[in-house]
């Protein structure tokens, strides 16, 4: 979908520019149990994000780009969905300098070369 040019972006979030949790652009979101009736009740933007999160395991930035919802709005809507336990936020709180993780990334990259 693409953003609706007739709706000011933050109308979709009730004027909020920050979500309950601050999601990083690379935080991976995945679905919980898919609830079609719940999806029906969502506004189109939230619904697109909700459905895509269940179809893929993607970062906040990817969901924003693929659903055509601006990043700021995406963050607020995803935080709402997570607060209602509708989607899962992966690996929250992991340090970006976690040595085990970085060493695994280095090993994984070398295999690609």
């Amino acid at each position: 979908m693409t953003a609706n040019p007739w709706v000011r972006p933050y109308v979709l979030t009730g004027g909020r520019t920050r979500g309950r949790t601050h999601l990083l652009v690379h935080t991976v979101i995945s679905g919980r149990r898919y609830d079609a009736a719940f999806a029906e009740r969502l506004l189109p933007e939230a619904r697109a994000l909700y459905e895509r999160a269940h179809a893929t395991s993607e970062s906040v930035a990817e969901l924003s780009a693929h659903c055509g919802v601006s990043l700021g709005v995406t963050r607020v809507l995803l935080a709402d969905l997570a607060a209602g336990d509708r989607i899962a936020i992966a690996a929250e709180g992991t340090s970006p300098y976690d040595r085990n993780v970085l060493e695994r990334v280095i090993d994984g990259l070398r295999e690609l070369a």
Partner: protein, 238 residues
């Protein structure tokens, strides 16, 4: 609402190169997947406009670099990347990013910074939670990357390295010259790469993370500040 409409004729939507897997309107979007916990790691690719950031991402990403203008309001007008004086309030921001899946539970994201100076405030957001950064420089236009070097030396805690993108595979200046011209602190690794070449990009990314491991070894991550002098571009006078 335009949710189920056909592709946006205005061209303002997701870039055409992005495979659209639109969630089906009718029926549930496929079977539930294994909810494997996923760890994502982010490396920021910085540098001035046109130094090869997108090329670098493209060389290794498993998805076409996603170019999204989603950062600010979609209602805003697109601004010419090379500058448009009236663009101060109506900006859309292009950011490129790519993805490399390394294991079923581990994915690396590369985020290119918006090169245009007026988007620097967004660098903070982009850099939050990053494991490292690569500043790409082009020796023919060293000055376009000064701002990125300043940013990572003074305004960010993210460990970074500098990579000279060898356009045409030719190294026109020796690294000590470039280090001097950039006023790079001695402890910032400086390397060369070919942003088009996957192996070379892998090398740069592993160096970046190895540097992060060095910088953060055995301690927390204190502020990494620099005392860089004013940068000028002695190479530009060639």
């Amino acid at each position: 609402m335009v949710y189920a409409s056909s592709p946006d004729p205005s061209g303002r939507g997701p870039s055409p190169g992005v495979p659209e897997r639109r969630p089906g309107r009718a029926g549930p979007p496929g079977p539930p997947r294994a909810p494997g916990p996923r760890t994502s790691v982010k490396i920021v690719v910085a540098g001035g406009f046109g130094v090869g950031k997108t090329t670098l991402v493209e060389a290794i990403s498993e998805i076409p670099p996603v170019n999204t203008e989603a950062w600010m309001t979609q209602a805003a007008r697109t601004v010419d990347p090379l500058g448009d004086a009236e663009g101060k309030t109506t900006t859309t921001v292009a950011m490129d990013f790519g993805r490399v899946t390394l294991a079923s539970d581990l994915v690396l994201y590369l985020f290119g910074t918006p090169g245009q100076p007026r988007f620097w405030p967004m660098w903070d957001d982009l850099c939050r939670g990053a494991s490292g950064a690569v500043i790409l420089v082009d020796t023919r236009r060293l000055d376009v990357s000064f701002a990125a070097v300043n940013y990572f030396e003074n305004d960010s805690d993210v460990p970074f390295i500098v990579a000279v993108n060898l356009f045409d595979g030719r190294q026109t200046h020796r690294l000590p010259q470039i280090r001097e011209a950039l006023r790079l602190d001695a402890d910032v690794p400086l390397t060369t790469c070919d942003a088009r070449d996957r192996g070379s990009v892998v090398q740069v990314l592993t160096e970046t993370l190895a540097h992060t491991l060095d910088r953060t070894a055995g301690r927390g991550t204190g502020p990494l500040t620099g005392t860089a002098g004013r940068r000028t571009d002695p190479l530009a006078a060639r």
